[in-house]
């Protein structure tokens, strides 16, 4: 070991310089982390004192304490900056000394090269080269592996492929295109696109000729009171509970469950939804379809649009719905407009509104606030007095709006307490029910306040409180929840006949051809002659409870029971397989 004094001196200076650098470095690192709490803006102590001062402003000692503490922290902060600056230069000087001393010491101990004979130089270089090649191949593999791992572990939520981007970036324009070939009115009439048929009248023109029998029956996986809607060979119903709400699609001829899709992750919709009253449940509003999409709304304010294949087009949260018994007004659809009567509020109006959306994109076309509390009736759209009018019922106002821009046409103060039965347009009149009080016929051609002038006739006999009326030609039929069916004259309101079906009735009656179908709550399907003479044509008992109104489409009657969906048709049709 070369122990010349110079070498030992150099070694010692190197060690001292090294220790000095480590010391200064240590102090600076300590200062850096220790400052985490006592900088003037970060120190929790100072913030707490300020909160206390805000509570009682005149506290002198507290003010003095804050000022001293603030000054101390600010002085520490300046001190720390100065320390860092000098520390940096000290570190620089220290490392310079360390390096020079060490380099000089190493230079002293430098051994001169003594090349030894290398007999196998050739083979060695070839062996080294091949090992180098293998290590290079190893590096290549490692890098490729890294690339793949990073690629696979990609937690990016943005779409990967180009067309996924297209869909993300241009949802609205994509919908504009199919507007051109929106289904024509006849197609709406041929199907059952919304609650009680295309115009909400509960009637269908074709006839069944014989008493219908059950063709198939399918289990409904989720509870709900929404009526079935039918388009083409598909039947759609909605169901759900507070933690999951879904849309189900069945094949109309076989009853097979084609798909079910949950309406979830609706932007803005709270995860935990408030309890809805048990008898209404979450899925009371009936869905709507416009030939390209189906729309479903639920009691917690979630609204979803789905394609016929079940893929979600758009979802929207309409805000918390404050409805004492649970929101139940069904959706209405006309061309590409989707209408929602969102009435809210216990006894006073709380943000009730009528919203018109564009079906394709969910864009709000217009929105009108309504001076009414919560209601449960479904709006209907009629062509009367040269305008397409939307008739809405609520307590106390019946209001008509124009479909195009939602301006108010006329209003009448005729209703009170819980308005459940929906309006019907029959015999040139708008028939509306003030539950348990009056059945009235209103002329839809007025403007402004028509409370006194608009009512054609009114009757207090056998007024329904839940089921909506149904009319055909000159006759109007109603059913009370106690089971009393009555027939009135459409132009004068005179009672023609009445009968007691001795079964409670929740569902609204419907007319198929010339048969009046009344669906009892405990499964009794009663068929009466829809004419001036009372004549019961038949009664079948179904093993279920029924609250939802029937749907008539492509030759069948669809009924939604509490547990099953039933399809009834002409008895001689071949008995489809039971699922």
């Amino acid at each position: 070991m070369n122990t010349s004094p110079l070498y030992r001196a150099l070694l010692r200076t190197a060690w001292i310089a090294g220790a000095f650098c480590v010391l200064v470095g240590g102090i600076m690192v300590y200062e850096h982390f220790e400052a985490a709490t006592n900088d003037p803006w970060k120190s929790p102590q100072l913030l707490a004192l300020r909160e206390k001062l805000a509570a009682d402003p005149k506290n002198e000692p507290l003010q003095k304490e804050i000022r001293q503490l603030d000054l101390k922290f600010r002085r520490n902060f300046r001190h720390r900056l100065a320390l860092d600056n000098t520390g940096a230069w000290l570190l620089l000087g220290g490392t310079l000394a360390l390096v020079l001393a060490a380099a000089k010491a190493a230079a002293l101990k430098k051994t001169l090269p003594l090349p030894q004979p290398k007999p196998d130089a050739g083979e060695q270089s070839i062996k080294l080269a091949s090992r180098a090649r293998w290590s290079l191949a190893g590096v290549g593999l490692a890098v490729a592996g890294c690339l793949l791992i990073i690629g696979l572990g990609n937690t990016s939520v943005l779409p990967g492929s180009r067309d996924a981007w297209q869909k993300l970036l241009s949802p609205p324009s994509a919908q504009e295109a199919p507007i051109a070939e929106a289904p024509v009115l006849a197609e709406f009439q041929a199907n059952w696109p919304r609650f009680r048929g295309w115009d909400g009248s509960g009637t269908a023109a074709w006839d069944l000729k014989t008493m219908p029998g059950v063709l198939w029956r399918s289990v409904i996986p989720a509870p709900g009171h929404s009526s079935p809607i039918v388009w083409g060979d598909r039947v759609f119903i909605s169901g759900g509970t507070t933690n999951r709400r879904e849309v189900f699609c069945y094949n109309a001829s076989s009853g097979a469950l084609l798909w079910q899709r949950a309406i979830e992750n609706v932007p803005g919709s709270p995860l935990k939804i408030p309890e809805t009253p048990e008898d209404t449940g979450c899925a009371a509003p009936t869905m709507a379809a416009d030939g390209r999409r189906v729309y479903a709304i639920f009691a917690n304010g979630d609204l979803g649009a789905l394609n016929f294949d079940g893929s979600v087009v758009w979802t929207k949260y309409l805000g918390p719905v404050k409805n004492p018994y649970g929101y139940a007004a069904s959706l209405a659809v006309w061309g590409d407009n989707l209408l929602i009567q969102l009435d809210q509020g216990e006894t006073r109006p709380e943000g009730s509104k009528l919203i018109s959306l564009q079906g394709g994109s969910g864009r709000v076309l217009w929105e009108r606030s309504r001076p009414v509390p919560a209601s449960w009736a479904t709006p209907i759209i009629i062509d009367a007095a040269g305008k397409t009018q939307i008739i809405t019922l609520a307590d106390p106002w019946v209001i008509a709006y124009t479909l195009a821009d939602g301006n108010e046409l006329w209003r009448a103060q005729l209703l009170e307490n819980e308005v459940v039965p929906s309006p019907v347009f029959a015999g040139g009149f708008v028939l509306l029910v003030s539950p348990g009080a009056k059945l009235m016929a209103l002329r839809p051609d007025g403007t402004g306040d028509v409370t006194k002038t608009g009512v054609a006739w009114a009757t207090e006999e056998n007024v329904p409180d839940i089921a909506s009326p149904v009319g055909i030609g000159e006759l109007v039929f109603t059913v009370t929840s106690g089971g009393v069916a009555t027939c009135f004259g459409a132009n004068d309101g005179k009672k023609i006949w009445e009968t007691n079906l001795d079964t409670e009735v929740q569902a609204s009656p419907g007319i198929l051809g010339d048969r009046l179908f009344i669906l009892g709550e405990h499964g009794a399907l009663v068929t009466l002659q829809a004419g001036r003479e009372l004549h019961e044509m038949g009664r079948t008992q179904l093993p279920d409870k029924f609250d939802a109104s029937p749907a008539f489409a492509n030759g069948h009657v669809f009924l939604r029971g509490v547990t099953n969906l039933y399809c009834l048709g002409a008895a001689d049709a071949k008995l489809a397989k039971q699922p």
Binding site: K42, C146, L147, G153, N154, T155
Partner: protein, 338 residues
Amino acid sequence: MKPEFELFDRREFFGVVAKTAAVIGLAGGAEAGAEGQGTANPFAYDISRFQKTDPKLIAYEEVTRWPIPHKDARRLAIGPDDQLYVCAGNYINCLSRTGQRGLELALAGPACCVAVARDGAIFAGLRDHIEVFDSKGGRVARWESPDPKTWFTGLAAGGNDVFAADARKLVVLRYDRTGKIAGRIGRKDAARNVPGFIVPSPFLDVIIHRDGLLRVNNPGRHRVEAYTFDGDLEGAWGKPTAAIEGFCGCCNPIGLTALADGRIVTCEKGIPRVKIYSASGEFESVVAGSESFPENAHACTDLNDCIHGGIDAAVDSDGRIYILDIVTSDVRVMKRKG
């Protein structure tokens, strides 16, 4: 939905592995040091405490709300027959109680303020002059201001006087019904110990209170000052604080109106809120807190500073308060609760 019991699904598992691999990989190495810092900003200017109003204090609720015909609104006033006069853009619109559009006065320049006398005469304050219209909308007279740099931002029409608040020359001019200037109120005057107005942004307002005194807001001093018709300062109240009982920011209140029983309604911007004080200045209740003016509050937060915010209020004969939101250009009708 991801079942809870599973620690994390396949994609996240690969995410974790990728993060470790990424740290050694180049792309990842770069990412390690790049992203901003933790979830808290130690320098955040936190006034969220003042943006939530104690529900017990809120005494009014919104009945309805309708948009106003033009953008760029500034002031509104109530006429004798409860008609609403809104000045927005170069127009003054008269709206019925239900928001239907009635009379529209087109003016040469931006309409800054409006007042309607008991006999129906409409006084429209433009930047530097006042135009007088009869109740049918016919132009009757044009009153010039004494100084070209005048900027009228508040008008009050009394029996036989009209008071015009000039935010630029910091004075309230007193006109008589013929248009002659009968006096100047509020100018800095040590002898009459009037401290003078501080008006950093163009919001000076004047109302004629039922107790016969004027009420003028002094936004820079965060006070409401009471003056006689001849300009003697009778008293002033107001405390500069963001807390609910004071006036927040650099220059509030920006709008005044009075209820039938003499209580005063104040409007503030920055933290947009409308409050009610007793005639002598004790804080009483809140008409609408900052949470019901989200767009207005936002107008002051993002990039442009607070010159686009602002609110004005007016009261009709049966106590309903109409609040004009300058940012959303709509009028809200507030009715006392219960």
